[in-house]
């Protein structure tokens, strides 16, 4: 597996890519907070937020549909919100029987359900955009500038750096299990569920030991290269006038969205 196997960075030349990662991170968070603040049914403001997303997509040279195509990851969670369809007081729209219960969908419930989905859909696209236009090490560096404690950012940096190594380790373990688990198609084989869980547990234990011992080797290798407890980056982060301009524009836009959303 290659070192960038887990990378979500999408290499392009664009204004957005060159923005300071701090600005991109804060604008993303601000946009998501703004979505959370908008009241249910603020369709005009939601539409404006979506236009903003679309514009950033285009400005990043991704094409308009880039984040849309990847935006369905949060969809399974919609199941958790489905109860508001029935539990909000309001005018009944439709009702049906399921097993022994009567369910009635209300207009208020529908409004709230759709609003939750739209908020979530907009927010997840913005988060997708953030990692597509920012290299992950730059993102970690931005978090450091934004006062996230060094121990956490260092752990995150290590996690990101060694994830593909350990994923390789996992695939070797999985392949080993696979090659020892002959089965006739369509037939149950290989012991009880408990036994399978135990095999998976042994694999996890094996992975733990390999990771533990690897971390020792990594530490020694880093010491020999002059590691002093801090990670450095070669990308100097300095705010340029274009960064301030972009930040001011985004703040103004979020402000406008909030005002429109309250009419």
């Amino acid at each position: 597996m290659h070192a960038d196997a887990f990378d979500r960075y999408h290499e392009k030349e664009s204004l957005i890519h060159y923005l300071d990662p701090r600005v991109k991170t804060m604008v993303t968070v601000g946009f998501i907070v703004s979505n959370a603040l908008l009241p249910d049914g603020a369709w005009l403001a939601f539409a404006l937020a979506w236009l903003f997303l679309l514009a950033v997509n285009l400005l990043s040279n991704f094409g308009a549909g880039y984040t849309f195509k990847r935006s369905f990851v949060a969809l399974p969670f919609a199941l958790a919100a489905i109860t508001v369809l029935f539990s909000m007081p309001g005018n009944p729209l439709a009702s049906f029987r399921f097993l022994m219960w009567d369910f009635t969908i209300t207009d208020m419930g529908l409004l709230r359900f759709v609003s939750i989905l739209v908020r979530s859909w907009l927010s997840v696209q913005m988060a997708i955009l953030l990692v597509a236009v920012t290299r992950f090490p730059d993102l970690i560096h931005a978090l450091e500038h934004l006062r996230v404690p060094a121990i956490l950012t260092t752990i995150i940096a290590f996690l990101y750096r060694y994830l593909f190594v350990l994923a390789d380790e996992v695939f070797r373990l999985l392949r080993a299990r696979e090659s020892r688990s002959a089965a006739v198609a369509g037939q149950w084989s290989g012991g009880s569920v408990l036994w399978r869980a135990k095999v998976a547990g042994n694999m996890a234990g094996q992975l733990f030991l390999r990771s533990y011992e690897r971390s020792d080797r990594i530490y020694n290798a880093m010491l020999s290269r002059g590691y002093s407890g801090r990670l450095y980056t070669l990308n100097p982060h300095e705010m340029k006038s274009s960064d301030y301009l972009a930040a001011a524009f985004a703040v103004a836009l979020i402000f406008v969205m909030q005002i429109i959303g309250r009419f």
């Binding site: 990851v73 709230r112 956490l152 350990l166 998976a200 971390s215």
Partner: protein, 313 residues
């Protein structure tokens, strides 16, 4: 990259701003304590170790095993991280895992990350380590059995906290979300318990020095037993209470200003009762406690059978 998302990573949009911010405040304060404790007790050597261990938890979640009909179980890892690395380090490791899942894979939102870290990182580590620590000094079989109970409780705690946050955000109806979430996770928790016990048994067998009295994991204070026990007790008492008497909880939430309209009081669902949840809530608590004892007994038996099959080889 394929890893099945667990229905516990809350995306953005599902929590209200107030609930998100309160969760962030709790998470940041606990992490502040965790960071100062780890900085004090660990050398710089431990930071790369924690980083690689975070990658380990992430990678270990990819190890799945077929259960039946296309579904598969896999590890969440909160209890395992806390048991092997100690509670504070376990919390930091889980925080890094959840942060990367949210930032890089959009598995869980950014504004909702405070809640996600609280549910899957801090609570799981606290209850997982606390219960496990309660068995320290006992024989290995008892320790493993306790680790299984701890792993099961860690999953249930996370699920309960998630349900409560969704309810406080007026996203889910309490009397539907609690039975649904806890029902699914009671099963997921069994897999978690089985994998955690098997992984620990493997480590006991091959590198017992990593888990003995001198290890980082055994150095944390006994106060964790109290914390873990308290959280587990809260889960046992609160989950039956929440499904038996949601109106009471709605009342509390209204008084605290979380919910403006207690939905299920006036809603079209007001009159309905789930037949087997209909009796008085003292009975519910008893039923919940019995359920927990039964699950605990199953896990102890699983732990024993794994122990026996090992020594017989």
């Amino acid at each position: 990259m394929n890893f099945s998302p667990v229905p516990m990573h809350i995306p953005d949009g599902f929590l209200s701003l107030m609930v998100s911010i309160i969760c962030w405040i709790i998470t940041v304060s606990v992490l502040g304590v965790a960071i100062s404790k780890t900085n004090k007790s660990l050398g710089e050597r431990q930071v790369p170790l924690m980083g690689v261990m975070a990658a380990f938890i992430f990678a270990a979640q990819m190890i799945n095993f077929p259960v039946t009909g296309g579904t598969s179980g896999h590890l969440l890892g909160g209890a395992l991280a806390a048991i092997t690395l100690g509670p504070w380090a376990g919390m930091l490791v889980m925080t890094a895992v959840i942060a990367v899942q949210g930032l890089l894979f959009q598995d869980g939102g950014l504004l909702a990350m405070g809640a996600n870290i609280l549910n899957m990182g801090l609570l799981t580590a606290a209850v997982g380590y606390g219960l496990y620590r309660g068995a320290s000094g006992k024989n290995r079989a008892a320790q493993l059995a306790m680790a299984g109970v701890a792993a099961w409780f860690s999953v249930m705690t996370g699920a309960l906290a998630t349900s409560l946050q969704l309810w406080l955000s007026s996203t889910s109806d309490l009397r539907l979300v609690i039975p649904a979430m806890l029902g699914v996770h009671a099963l997921i928790g069994l897999f978690e318990a089985a994998i955690t016990v098997a992984a620990l048994a493997f480590i006991f067998r091959t590198r017992p020095d990593l888990l003995d009295e001198k290890s980082a994991s055994a150095q944390a204070g006994r106060g964790w037993v109290f914390v873990g026990g308290l959280i587990a007790l809260a889960v046992v008492l609160l989950s039956p209470l929440a499904s038996a008497d949601p109106d009471g909880l709605n009342r509390v939430a209204m008084d605290l200003g979380f919910i403006t309209n207690a939905q299920s009081v006036t809603g079209p669902l007001a009159g309905y009762t789930v037949p087997f949840l209909a009796s008085a809530f003292i009975g519910k608590i008893a039923a919940g406690a019995i359920g927990v004892i039964v699950v605990g007994a199953i896990i102890v038996l699983i732990g024993r059978s794994m122990q026996v099959s090992k020594s017989s080889r």
